[in-house]
Symmetry: C2
Subunit: 341 residues, 2 copies
């Protein structure tokens, strides 16, 4: 581990003071052409790169963002993280990731990272906003934003989400238009905001169409939006005497797990039962049958959220208006629904 090159080394080599080196880099036209040249070549010769810690200490800014993810290994977040990294690193910010794993002690850990001034901003990408008390103090320290979730009654952070209820209602209405009357729902991760909203949308659409809400057709109890939840829901399907003709799963992976379990028992989709999902993840289109689903613009949401946070981080001290952006979902019709007409 060689000693690193410092600004002192460059200054000595170029025959100037450290202040001049610093200026040659940060404020090039406050310095003579000649000095800038010699500073630059000294930098090139020594291979100097300004030390990040020293800079952060003085500037009180680390040029880093903390992205908090639930970290259940769900590939739903892959394109989101991709978009975030793209925009942030383009804006000169590094991306520190933190998986909370719905775990209090890990939330506390990351709250401490924030308080240590290790990041200039925080982006919470999860339905479960950290409950740690330490987090209530965060927005006073650094800008913070929420994605795919909402915390009612706070203008402290920007929020980027979709109209889960409306979108779910649209989806169920579509099933009704296709002639379905007996529609089941797998609402996904119990207690999550998305789950609640999507279930509400399902009920709303049924009621609006004058259809009854049958508790036997609401298959709760999932702890996540994953395959296993779909597989478990299949047991509910088989246990039922009077089967539904369509199933609305609150996430694509749930739908896929459900379909897989049904196909294992020789049930055909969509011939025997129609299935729809939510999210439009990568696998929805490649599955057989290709899944009809509600697309969440994940990449775009990531870009918008990142740009907003970027703007707020740069606006040092000034009034920082937060925003609540609710993006439209799009019904993507594929092959997993059979019209009953």
């Amino acid at each position: 581990m060689r000693r690193a090159v410092t600004i002192q080394d460059v200054a000595r080599r170029a025959g100037v003071s450290t202040a001049t080196v610093s200026r040659a880099l940060a404020l090039p036209d406050q310095v003579t052409d000649a000095t800038r040249q010699s500073v630059m070549s000294a930098i090139r010769e020594t291979g100097y790169t300004p030390n990040a810690a020293a800079r952060s200490l003085r500037a009180k800014s680390t040029k880093m963002v903390l992205v908090l993810l639930p970290g259940i290994g769900n590939s739903f977040f892959t394109p989101v993280l991709n978009a975030l990294e793209e925009v942030f690193s383009e804006g000169g910010y590094g991306v520190l990731i933190g998986y909370t794993r719905q775990n209090r002690s890990r939330e506390t850990h990351y709250a401490r990272v924030i308080r240590a001034g290790q990041v200039d901003g925080v982006l919470v990408v999860t339905g479960n906003v950290p409950r740690d008390e330490e987090f209530v103090a965060v927005p006073a320290t650094v800008p913070m934003s929420l994605m795919f979730s909402e915390l009612p009654g706070t203008a402290q952070f920007s929020v980027f989400d979709v109209a889960n209820r409306t979108a779910s209602a649209t989806m169920v209405r579509y099933l009704i238009e296709q002639g379905h009357r007996r529609i089941a729902c797998i609402p996904g991760a119990e207690g999550s905001l998305e789950s609640d909203e999507r279930l509400a949308g399902y009920q709303e659409a049924l009621s609006a169409a004058g259809l009854p809400i049958d508790p036997d057709l609401i298959w709760r109890g999932a702890s996540n939006f994953d395959f296993i939840s779909g597989e478990r829901a299949a047991a509910r399907y088989f246990a039922l005497a009077e089967k539904p003709t369509a199933v609305f799963a609150a996430a694509d992976e749930i739908a896929l797990g459900f379909m897989r379990a049904l196909k294992n028992h020789g049930i055909r989709i969509p011939e025997d039962v129609s299935v729809v999902g939510f999210d439009d993840t990568e696998y929805a289109v490649h599955y057989d049958p290709a899944l009809t689903t509600m697309r969440q613009p994940r990449t775009e949401m990531g870009r918008l959220a990142a740009r907003d946070l970027l703007r707020r981080m740069e606006a040092k001290g000034e009034a920082v208006p937060t925003s609540h952006v609710r993006l439209p979902c799009e019904l993507v019709i594929r092959e997993s629904v059979r019209p009953l007409v």
Copy 2:
């Protein structure tokens, strides 16, 4: 943005010097019980958290690791990143992610991050080791490791990979044992080490069994290990007069894309053609038919790589032996191969 609490504030409040506060935290038994108590309660009252930049500057260590990913949005890396974050954050290190996107300028960017002393270690998780000249200097500065890839002739970094060639040969031998004689190969991302090795394993197994290597059955030209590559390979299949009875895809997503394209044309798997993949990603088991594949222990590899890097980062200055760990793959037999006997 309130001014943050510093060690000065705590010292003043506890009526001691900053040195004592620092010691009360770092070396608790060099301090009287009484002073420690009063320092601790001053910390609690003020809500003090040591500033990361100041600490890094002095200690010449940031407690951060840079994880470099290709960033093609491939969910192959999801469990790897998960495992890395788990082990690193448990070890007190933050995880900075960087998507190189096979892009020179982004590699340069991250080389600069390393040289700025922003991280204590680097983990390259990609088949394509950065080619930027700046990277050759990295191992002299901080420990660096490679996952899923290898750079021949360097003992400078630890390597964690699988025996791609042997594993591929095993897979193809399995197909031969099942009675297949005409076996095609979709080798995946052109020019990548994994691709080359897996293709070599395929050829090795054929030769060992005395079977001819038919260039018409090697469907090159993929730029990635993704669905689209599989779909494109399907065109090669259809164009062929004498079809293969089995296809070895160098990645699960390629296999899935290929199967999907075939099924679209009414071809049944495995009845009409057998298909196998490589990796055992989440979707292999949930697809219909469930995919026979070669499991790479991604989570375990992530854990091992992280622990190794952790060890090397902690061993300040001392002799740091690097390791080359080659983990075994496991043939996972599911439903996508039909025995020809």
